[in-house]
Symmetry: D2
Subunit: 247 residues, 4 copies
């Protein structure tokens, strides 16, 4: 029979050795410290791209982009902004991306008179050239909820309307998880997106049902990494401070 | 036999009726518009809390908080910041929260001489009073990776070290999903967290293994909504612009 | 100073009290016992439906079903089996289901001469009338992999071909999670399915990309609970021992 | 202006070429057929292991196992069953496993007099030597719900009590997903389990909170693939027809 006294004695016998070695491993806080790998250092200057980001537009240089038809970017660069030229074409990055953190700042035109609903300040950010995060002037401008700013166009309305007024810069902070496909082309996991619109959670790990469609239901077709595409949609929407980090 | 010509004819026959009725439902873009509910409008003034947030600290008012022992907040309010008083106690919100978006700005002391590793600018943000997102001066300050700034303390190192220098304000944008428990107390889904540190993704839907522990392995015990807690850890860490939105 | 001896003494002092009170709560195994709720008792007779299942076909009674056109089941009941009548119509349950565990036994015709690929022993089990788990004679019968037995038709091939020979009874044990839609009709979580084919894992929490399509890409349209549908596809496929449990 | 007539004409121009080539690609069902890879063929003889399984016990051979102390299996093999010898030790597979489909048949002793609760027909199946799926005579035998047959011991009660009477063979069909850990040892995804008990869904993608504990809360410590372990718990529980398939 083992009595409490004998147990205590056994503990005492062990104690001196533990005192010498340092601490009882079961009570050693160092056991749960992890020292490697050391996360890479990233500088985060206010209002600029983090040091490890791929800068897609810094206010001047559009060399990361091309027209959706190939060739030079048909939009206007002035005053630190890249502005859609209505009637031209959309633009896409030369580089292809899969999972990314993407930061985009955008501004819709001050002049809104005569433009209503989808005709006011319309553009769009297409992840992997297929999945549209809507850009629209949704400040006192009614449209269908799954087509307003920060919606996944015709798939998911935003949690809130965090829009700023026309002429003010707005920001999207996007976490994008590309869809996965089996070797046979079957969908193994759908695309997912989280969006902060002007710092407010507007899309919370939203699942995409497929490629954005203007008409009919979205569906998936297998694809790989693909450009980020900015839409020309008849409005002089401006962009600035665009950067992306591969996840 | 139906020839292509006849098919085309059939389509043409149908066309006038469609023109009258509007459009073929299968080709009607309005079919995928969703007009209700209308997402709530949220104002997003620069550098301030969104209009729908619960402001926890605006630079002056600490009435949302109490000492972890109950009673008044034992920290110092000055110059728009709430600063830890070493040797006092931690503080917690009077209100309890579950799933939240949480924004916190924090600053570690300029004076770093003689303070190394975990002794430099240490504090912490505990979600639901149990799960610590580390606050630390990790600018040119080596410590274990799962204990540096933006780590889930002793559970998950950050993806990157996005720390700013001592004396500079830093920001966490947090998306927190509380753990779920069965009526019997079993874990049905673990807590998950996404963190932007100074705008850079530092935790990407990270799963928590349980309550933060200084020694030993984390584990879960069932609980409900609970306060947000800020740690007193011997350093004069300052906080400002703290707001939370329930998800 | 507290020495090990004194600590041990303190433990010993406490021991009698603990013996009286029961045990130290921190070391009490009863603390993690959960006594309620008590899971419902289910009888599981060999080869028959569990006692809590909704029996859809027991070998004789087809009253749980109707023709896909409404009206009586146009298939043949004989020898404890329900057999497709080629040229008739498919059948569906009168009751609608969402998340379910579904057990189905099926048998393809012994006579295979002259029938190849999709023409041999073809039928199908449609969850929620939309999502087809393929039934086919895939025993030494080549077809496209995402169209063979235990495939999610044209979406996901099975992990293995666990088919038995024509004339032998086969079994599917299915765990079905219905897709979820937002009030606006957006997809919030896709449908998922796990299938044991003759006891072997053939689909492992497979995600569905949408409604089964013969031509083109699958897509989702919002819907609620819906009947289970069995397909008439020109083959005298037989069914027996069909039961379902709502999850 | 493009009229419907002209559109139709354009379609007709294209039609002959399509007729020659076969079908309009947009309407070609062959586009969504996937012919490779061809899923491996697996024979599924009734009451026996699938042909691609690792047979752990076929009624005679215990060479896949060893004592938990190393050395030969201290249990009894007779009449096609492997029966626990009370007072001996548990046994574990020589091979290590991660994600698996596991089939186990088990039987508790007919003699139940004098044995109540956890003392009646107790054994257990430990995935990766750490996570216990309870084996117990839960037929008219009350115990804590998270300790009865088909529970994840002290973590998750089963959805139902599908127990058969003492002396009858019962079956578990298990789909096990091992937990994942980061290089630093953090938990990246918890273990998950699905269990059919006698064909009835008893655990539905249940998340594990950590290693099974008799006292206190479960927690995770990083580990790799590990043996399947069968517990000796003072009861003459028998096993037969044990097989496993790596996922």
């Amino acid at each position: 029979m083992i009595t409490p006294v004998l147990i205590a004695a056994a503990v005492l016998v062990a104690a001196p050795a533990l005192a010498q070695a340092g601490v009882d491993p079961a009570h050693d806080p160092a056991k749960t410290e992890v020292w490697t790998p050391v996360p890479a250092t990233v500088a985060t200057p206010l209002g600029k791209a983090p040091s490890d980001a791929i800068v897609l537009f810094d206010g001047k240089d559009v060399s990361a982009w091309e027209s959706e038809q190939g060739g030079r970017v048909p939009w206007r660069v002035a005053d630190g902004a890249l502005t859609v030229v209505p009637g031209s074409k959309g633009i896409r990055t030369r580089q292809r991306f899969c999972d990314v953190q993407l930061h985009v700042e955008w501004r819709t035109p001050v002049e809104t008179k005569g433009f209503e609903g989808q005709d006011r300040g319309n553009s769009g950010i297409f992840l992997q050239e297929r999945y549209e995060l809507q850009v629209l002037d949704s400040y006192n401008n009614s449209t269908y909820a799954n087509g307003q700013a920060a919606s996944l166009y015709k798939q998911a309305m935003p949690l809130v309307n965090a829009s700023r007024a026309p002429g003010e810069w707005q920001a999207y902070d996007i976490i994008w998880k590309a869809p996965r496909f089996s070797p046979g082309g079957g969908l193994t996991s759908p695309a997912r997106i989280t969006v902060l619109h002007n710092g407010v959670l507007a899309q919370d790990d939203t699942v995409l049902a497929g490629k954005t469609e203007y008409i009919g239901a979205p569906s998936y077709a297998p694809h790989g990494c693909a450009p980020i595409y900015l839409q020309e949609h008849d409005s002089k929407v401006s962009y600035r401070n665009i950067w992306v980090r591969e996840l």
